[in-house]
Symmetry: D2
Amino acid sequence: MDYQPILDKIRKEIEVYAHEGKQADYIPALARVNPDQFGLCLNTLDGKTYRLGDSATKFSIQSISKVFSLAIALSIMGKDLWQRMAKEPSGSAFNSLVQLEYEHGIPRNPFINAGALVSADVLLSNLDDPEAFYLNFVRTISGNPTIDYSDEVAQSEQSCSYLNASIAYLLKHHGNLHNDVNQVLHLYCRMCSLEMSCEDLSRAFMAFAKSNEPFSHAGVNLTISRVKRINAIMQTCGFYDEAGEFSFLVGLPGKSGVGGGIVAIYPSRYSIAVWSPRLNAKGNSIMGMKALELFTSETEESIF
Amino acid sequence: MDYQPILDKIRKEIEVYAHEGKQADYIPALARVNPDQFGLCLNTLDGKTYRLGDSATKFSIQSISKVFSLAIALSIMGKDLWQRMAKEPSGSAFNSLVQLEYEHGIPRNPFINAGALVSADVLLSNLDDPEAFYLNFVRTISGNPTIDYSDEVAQSEQSCSYLNASIAYLLKHHGNLHNDVNQVLHLYCRMCSLEMSCEDLSRAFMAFAKSNEPFSHAGVNLTISRVKRINAIMQTCGFYDEAGEFSFLVGLPGKSGVGGGIVAIYPSRYSIAVWSPRLNAKGNSIMGMKALELFTSETEESIF
Amino acid sequence: MDYQPILDKIRKEIEVYAHEGKQADYIPALARVNPDQFGLCLNTLDGKTYRLGDSATKFSIQSISKVFSLAIALSIMGKDLWQRMAKEPSGSAFNSLVQLEYEHGIPRNPFINAGALVSADVLLSNLDDPEAFYLNFVRTISGNPTIDYSDEVAQSEQSCSYLNASIAYLLKHHGNLHNDVNQVLHLYCRMCSLEMSCEDLSRAFMAFAKSNEPFSHAGVNLTISRVKRINAIMQTCGFYDEAGEFSFLVGLPGKSGVGGGIVAIYPSRYSIAVWSPRLNAKGNSIMGMKALELFTSETEESIF
Amino acid sequence: MDYQPILDKIRKEIEVYAHEGKQADYIPALARVNPDQFGLCLNTLDGKTYRLGDSATKFSIQSISKVFSLAIALSIMGKDLWQRMAKEPSGSAFNSLVQLEYEHGIPRNPFINAGALVSADVLLSNLDDPEAFYLNFVRTISGNPTIDYSDEVAQSEQSCSYLNASIAYLLKHHGNLHNDVNQVLHLYCRMCSLEMSCEDLSRAFMAFAKSNEPFSHAGVNLTISRVKRINAIMQTCGFYDEAGEFSFLVGLPGKSGVGGGIVAIYPSRYSIAVWSPRLNAKGNSIMGMKALELFTSETEESIF
């Protein structure tokens, strides 16, 4: 199947949304991004690559990093990781403290901030140089050695993220962070600050799209069953409190970030990444969501 | 592929769970059920049927009825239905009032009790004889004209379900029930009281497994896109606050009921129903959950 | 001390608030009331009575009834009553279901709707004719045999109060209502519908102002200690989620109703009732609150 | 009136509670305290002082410090302080984050930790040397120049109070802390660490008992109206989620601390401080609560 004509058609259809919403502006480096960009990259398991627009432009991956850190943490701890976090949809915003307080410091899932802070804590406790390990891992699965952290984004993020600090101290209060809070926040912000293009992300997530192969990249090893389970969590929890909506409209497991990126996979078939900085009220890219919705509608290829 | 050897093997493996948990006992008719039963029926799209144990024994479908009433309500109202309920995981128990109060009477999804009460209200507003219509619809998609309501279960349920009455009045307070509360509760309890076997349920859900065909049965018509979306909601919301766990362990869209039944589908491949009355703390069948988890592990056929 | 000059001065000062807010309009009988009325009556323990404006006009006492029903329920059950409700401020709206769900059907205090429904239930379980008993009790402590229920208000209230029905069924679900829900709602609405003037209310609450005398009126008997404790609960819980504000501004125990009435007492000194139908966002009379604030400021007679 | 015989009698009656509960043990310095101590000191406005037991032993005042810091903050900011915190009972535990999140960083009242952190922030923004100012203020109103901070308690507290750090960062996130979080936490912990005896506290709170005199001590000046309002807040919010219970049982405005101290006042009549380290589940001194309950019962002198 040649997906290019479908992608070209979608590009035209989503143009009407080109000026809706606005980009994240809570740190200067994100606020400075030109919001009128759109990129897409699709990789299929039979080896083809399709591109649209700014597919090679790097952007801040933000929460998409939570999938990578989960993969590493799960490789380290195996199913014991689930003693420290659950895998249920939160039903509330990604940064809510309410549930975390009621549930005594056990995050609902690895894709809310609290869960990703626990993943960062696992990396800190078990790796000699977690920053280097993480970077090497992402470079390897993306096949792009130029991927790097943004010092500016990481620093801004850490210095202004009082809410993440609040969450981290609540985890610490409940004994669910073993390292120094500032170290955990530092690593978390570094991981979020990674800059990747749609092409990089699409290639990286091929590792999850190949869900019938064990996952083994740069020292991170997961069984088939664990890869499938990461995909299941992306399906139910990948979009904050819009997970149901994304599942309903797009029908694929995926993960979004406030940098405007979204990556989704069709197991055993393809990996697709889109990027456009303007966000809806839930913090997900408007053009990105729409492009993916149209893509699975046009191709009739949702997993359902 | 011949699934029978796998099913036989699973039957043996789950025997260790045969006496864990206990059946629902909040009404006498459910409490009286022999808890030591187990049935399973699998129908594939290529026309084969596999069975285990008490696959022909009828039981109370309870919340599985919510999928049928959603299909009817969606056929009636189309996407306008989503003005009256959302499609996000609730992150809380199926009968919680908290979220419903905070969210001004808009249920989180059609598979919590509040959402199913709204579906019942839609049927009451739009059908001459909703009870007859519903029964005819289920009989048709199951291909079994002997399926019927249990008067005893429906009556017990209505007379003791103070919590459902509380939810219904809260919906009414927010203007999200248009009919008399007692009528809505009556219809809701009738629909939950339906008695079906695993064979009936597995056949009925073939209509959802065939997600690339428009849904058209006994006056209920849905587009392919809407069938897929019902499946997506089963995936994210079908198991109360254990939806993530089910998605994680089983990896299929499905729906459970406190009668001990669970039905799940693999789109374009099969429909499978299991039943065993003993429940876990979340109200889902212990042996049923385990059987499905083993089935997708053994066959490596989760949708992820 | 002659309070009349102070009261006259206050009357002038509050005139600027005369058109702020609007009256309760959720039932026709309340919506029809002329909102531009103001009455006040003050009775001192040394036997003097002071009046302002529409002090003899009867109005719907609404939630002020909760003090009367608490006095009767406490007379019947003594401290066992506190097994069925707490006496802590709720920190939330008077009709919230959230806390009641988290706290398993034990109302926070007798002055939120849930608590008053439990009081009504106690009356139903223990009195032959609770409506007649309640009416006789209020007539006796007010010294006014013409006080009566408003059939119209009671009927409108019951037929439209879906939220109270929701609360009542949640109580029933938790086993904290022993009588039929409709009977409880009926009695609750009757008691709220009572019509009294500021003169009636001020006289009635002299029974609480005389907190160093045992309470004994028309078959209702309370020790000194219990009278003081009812006063303490009025102080901390008498004004929904504005209890702190009232305590802060006025400094007296009291109780308000959405009919626009407020009654407050200075133990061992006086009882004061005000009425004006226009309400603030919290459901308390604007002119009434202001008049009482000015009164305790001018007289420097807050209990603090 | 000679209170000594009543106090002696009470001392005997509360002996049965002498071994119930246990002291706070979350920091070593508090855990080391001999739990089997009891002290009481009563000062009347007519100049008499009564004592029981360990009335001269100093202990950690902990949350009682919140009254002193509120008085200073209110003296600095006047009613503008109420833009930054409310004065309603919280209805939840003293350290809950839930309400603070829902209410966008505005603490419910000055006596929960969040509110006291805001008070500390006000001191930091407006005083050259807040620690010295605070200490001088407390020494002056207590008439005891030997009162001092406990370095050990303050340091332990700050280094282990992850929950307070979580609260502080949430306040900072909502823009309701203007100073560096660590500085605020440092000052807060210092103020809590103050060590005073029942005699010191009873004398200090005479400033609040004299509610018909303007408050003017060591640079802190409040009108009569503001003194009364601080008393009103002690009444409704002084005992965490046991404020209603204390008001009900004791009937006086007061404030407790987890060091086991409780201080209460009868406006225009007396100030009373009790101390005993063993706490109930709500964090209030068991013998202290009981002694005060008996005292107002015996003397029939609750403000109600």
